[in-house]
């Protein structure tokens, strides 16, 4: 059964705290979300998002402070401008734009947080597994034969 893997980039000062608020109020939201705390949504760069999709995420959710409320003054301004353009670029190369979402959650908006995560998870579930990442085993001309050559006891603690 396909369960979407959602990675969320939550900024420390607003949306991550908003997630905490949701937790305290015992609001339910899907466990598909893996929260990653960043200092500010402005830190979320295109290479970070693309690395996330490259590693198999089905959806990426970036939650930032409302405009005017950024702890660092204007970090979320940058995000507001950059992420839609990144979405355009990735859509241009075949990623459904619904898989990348930017939204605004403040520290007290627990309900809003839960609602957005719910919506996004369902939207990504409806889209099915993400086919962005290609399986690569470097074979171009010849097949690979494998031969196990050693099993070594590790000296480093496991």
């Amino acid at each position: 059964m396909y369960e979407p893997r959602i990675i969320g980039y939550l900024c420390t000062w607003c949306s991550y705290t908003g997630a905490d608020t949701a937790g305290i109020a015992r609001l339910k939201y899907p466990a598909n979300l893996r929260a990653m705390r960043v200092p500010c949504s402005g830190r979320v760069s295109p290479e970070l998002i693309m690395r996330t999709f490259d590693q198999g995420a089905d959806g990426v959710l970036v939650l930032a402070c409302h405009i005017g409320e950024c702890h660092y003054d204007s970090g979320n301004h940058r995000t507001a401008k950059r992420l839609p353009v990144l979405q355009t670029l990735m859509a241009f190369t075949g990623l459904e734009p619904e898989r990348l979402r930017l939204d605004w959650v403040s520290a007290s908006e627990g309900e809003r947080f839960a609602r957005i995560v719910n919506e996004f998870t369902e939207a990504v579930r409806a889209l099915g597994p993400c086919h962005w990442r290609q399986k690569e085993n470097w074979v171009r001309y010849l097949d690979l034969q494998t031969k196990t050559i050693e099993i070594l006891p590790s000296e480093v603690g496991g």
Binding site: P46, E47, M50, R78, K81, R82, P84, T88, F92, G94
Partner: protein, 307 residues
């Protein structure tokens, strides 16, 4: 008076009066190919030419000529030329503005020889029949490069010396495509687009010529070439190549001037300028900002204006 003669004359006077240490222009090599030239002595200005094969964007050499910190050259830092002249077309001149806005060097270090270019021929900079023509749908095989056909400015937007005549029908405005390639891609389904791009990136050998040919790509260590594979693996595989190209296109959003040199130098004829042009369209539409028209920071580094 031909442009060649004017460029040579100006170069000679700049070098003789020691206003500049180096003139970066074009010359013709023994096989008849036009290529970049670096002139340091007044006696050598006869090498300089101007023709419709002057496709290279010479502003890529400005950083290493003018910035002693960048000087990874055999000369010592003291010997690094601090003043240079460069021959630019309209598109290249916009790159000068972007580089100045980003403080790569000072305006006083540069003498811009701006040329009113009549268009550069398709196939310029290439030897001959070794390359094949791109298969992308185009109305007619254009004689001029696509970027010349959609050129709006026609005359350099920044210059110290102006060579040529201003055309009477000078336009201004925003990016307009001449081929229907962007529309073709927009009309495809996401799956078709994925397949298209994967088949293009399959040919890519990560030679980085596209990045090296871009004046704006000048990070000391490219994010996608880190020794610790932080953002992208080292391998020449589909995921890595796609991430590199997309990431590079994004880093150029609002800075790319659409000279298409990245596409010209690609040995595999990958139409990567599609990515850059799509973002030029997007940035111009959303922010009303055309790169390189003035020495101002691009939209992504500024805060939202009051709306």
């Amino acid at each position: 008076m031909s442009y060649t003669y004017e460029i040579q004359t100006k170069a000679r006077s700049l070098l003789e009066s020691k206003q500049v240490d180096c003139v970066i222009g074009y010359e013709i090599g023994p096989r008849g190919r036009t290529r970049p030239a670096f002139i340091y002595q007044p006696e050598e200005v006869e090498r300089l030419v101007w023709n419709q094969a002057c496709t290279h964007n010479l502003t890529i050499y400005l950083k290493e000529q003018l910035d002693p910190q960048q000087s990874g050259r055999l000369k010592t830092k003291e010997q690094t030329p601090r003043h240079a002249a460069v021959v630019v077309k309209a598109c290249d001149s916009r790159a000068v503005n972007v580089l100045l806005a980003e403080n790569h060097f000072g305006r006083e270090q540069l003498h811009v020889i701006g040329v009113v270019c009549d268009g550069i021929h398709e196939g310029a900079g290439e030897v001959g029949n070794q390359r094949s023509v791109r298969q992308f749908p185009a109305a007619d095989p254009p004689q001029f490069q696509a970027r010349c056909q959609r050129c709006i400015e026609r005359v350099p937007v920044v210059f110290d010396t102006f060579i040529g005549e201003r055309p009477s029908n000078q336009k201004s405005g925003m990016y307009e495509n001449v081929l229907d390639d962007l529309d073709c891609l927009q009309a495809m389904t996401p799956t078709e687009r994925t397949d298209f791009w994967l088949s293009q990136f399959d040919r890519c050998i990560r030679c980085y010529a596209c990045r090296q040919a871009c004046p704006m790509c000048s990070c000391p260590t490219c994010l996608y070439e880190r020794d610790d594979s932080l953002w992208v693996g080292m391998g020449i595989g589909l995921n890595e190549k796609r991430t590199f190209h997309l990431g590079r296109a994004f880093h150029l959003a609002g800075r790319c001037i659409g000279c298409d040199e990245c596409e010209r130098v690609c040995p595999m004829d990958i139409p990567i300028s599609l990515l850059n042009r799509r973002l030029i369209q997007e940035v111009e539409t959303v922010f009303g900002y055309r790169a390189g028209m003035a020495q101002v920071p691009p939209p992504f580094v500024t805060v939202l204006s009051d709306r």
